[in-house]
């Protein structure tokens, strides 16, 4: 399965290897929590696939409008805000690091790798900025 060599000692690559697995498990926790609580709060009959995925991965006010939870205010609270921050940080970091692993599999070691890592870091920070902004503006409803 693994083409990359993962050194035993702590290195960037071994930390990221561990991170991919921990963030994978964390996303299970976030997704199942989001889905379960959405169902408890009454999102049952209007759940199309999009709504289901929004509730499981990024439940913010402007994002889950097509489920039949009538009082959306009830879940705009610190619990969900923290969930949203954790989900978005883990998911985007998992995804951009995954892209890094794939691309570096096809690259020669050298300065190109550093350029790539710099670019991906910028893309990741940009995604975080946009998402944080969304969370903040919806949280204020």
């Amino acid at each position: 399965m693994q083409a990359r060599r993962i050194p035993k000692i702590l290195s960037f690559e071994s930390i990221m290897w561990l991170f991919m697995r921990i963030s994978g498990l964390a996303m299970y926790v976030f997704a199942l929590t989001g889905l379960t609580i959405a169902l408890i709060m009454g999102a049952r009959t209007q759940m199309d696939m999009g709504t289901l995925l929004r509730w499981t991965f990024f439940p913010i006010g402007t994002h889950v409008t097509s489920s039949d939870i009538l009082v959306l205010e009830q879940w705009i609270n610190p619990f969900w805000t923290i969930m949203q921050y954790l989900t978005i940080v883990f998911a985007t970091m998992h995804g951009t690091n995954g892209l890094r692993m794939v691309l570096e599999d096809y690259m020669d070691a050298g300065w190109g790798v550093h350029v790539l890592r710099g670019l991906l870091l910028i893309i990741w920070l940009f995604m975080l900025l946009v998402a944080f902004n969304l969370i903040q503006t919806t949280g204020a409803v």
């Binding site: 399965m1 083409a3 990359r4 060599r5 697995r21 994978g24 498990l25 996303m27 299970y28 997704a31 199309d48 696939m49 999009g50 995925l53 998911a91 985007t92 995804g95 951009t96 995954g98 892209l99 794939v102 570096e104 599999d105 096809y106 690259m107 020669d108 070691a109 893309i123 995604m127 946009v130 998402a131 902004n133 969304l134």
Partner: protein, 128 residues
């Protein structure tokens, strides 16, 4: 550690890795697919919020079409279930002996869950 191939991509396709090999390919594709999906989504919401562009609407029309939903759903479901298998077998390497069986077990979970949702999506899309 770059890959040094002495074979062409075409030769590579004939490699008989079986279930786990296909699972690895699908894991890669689905991971990249989800990232592309999430990335475009973030970009569109940024353009809409900051510049009032129509990109968000355009992209939502695509994202909400039934065909797209089926693909996204498969990608996420497969990536999540296969990812769990990778995590479990990496943390308990003794289980690696049963990797092929584990990949079969994955499909036993994925096929019914995916099939049910796809059935609902399609019947809804066509006048259900």
């Amino acid at each position: 550690m770059p890959l040094k191939r002495n074979v062409s991509y075409w030769e590579g396709l004939k490699y008989k890795g079986g279930g786990p090999m296909w699972a690895w390919i699908l894991h890669r594709l689905s991971g990249l697919g989800i990232l592309l999906f999430v990335g475009l989504h973030v970009l569109a919401s940024f353009l809409t919020a900051q510049f009032g562009s129509d990109a968000g609407i355009t992209i939502n029309i695509i994202y909400e079409s039934w065909a797209f939903q089926i693909i996204v759903y498969f990608s996420i479901l497969f990536h999540a279930v296969n990812g769990l298998r990778v995590i479990l077998l990496d943390f308990w390497p003794a289980l690696l002996e049963y990797e092929r069986e584990a990949v079969w077990a994955e499909w036993f979970v994925i096929v019914p869950v995916f099939g049910l949702a796809t059935y609902i999506i399609i019947t809804k899309a066509f006048g259900g």
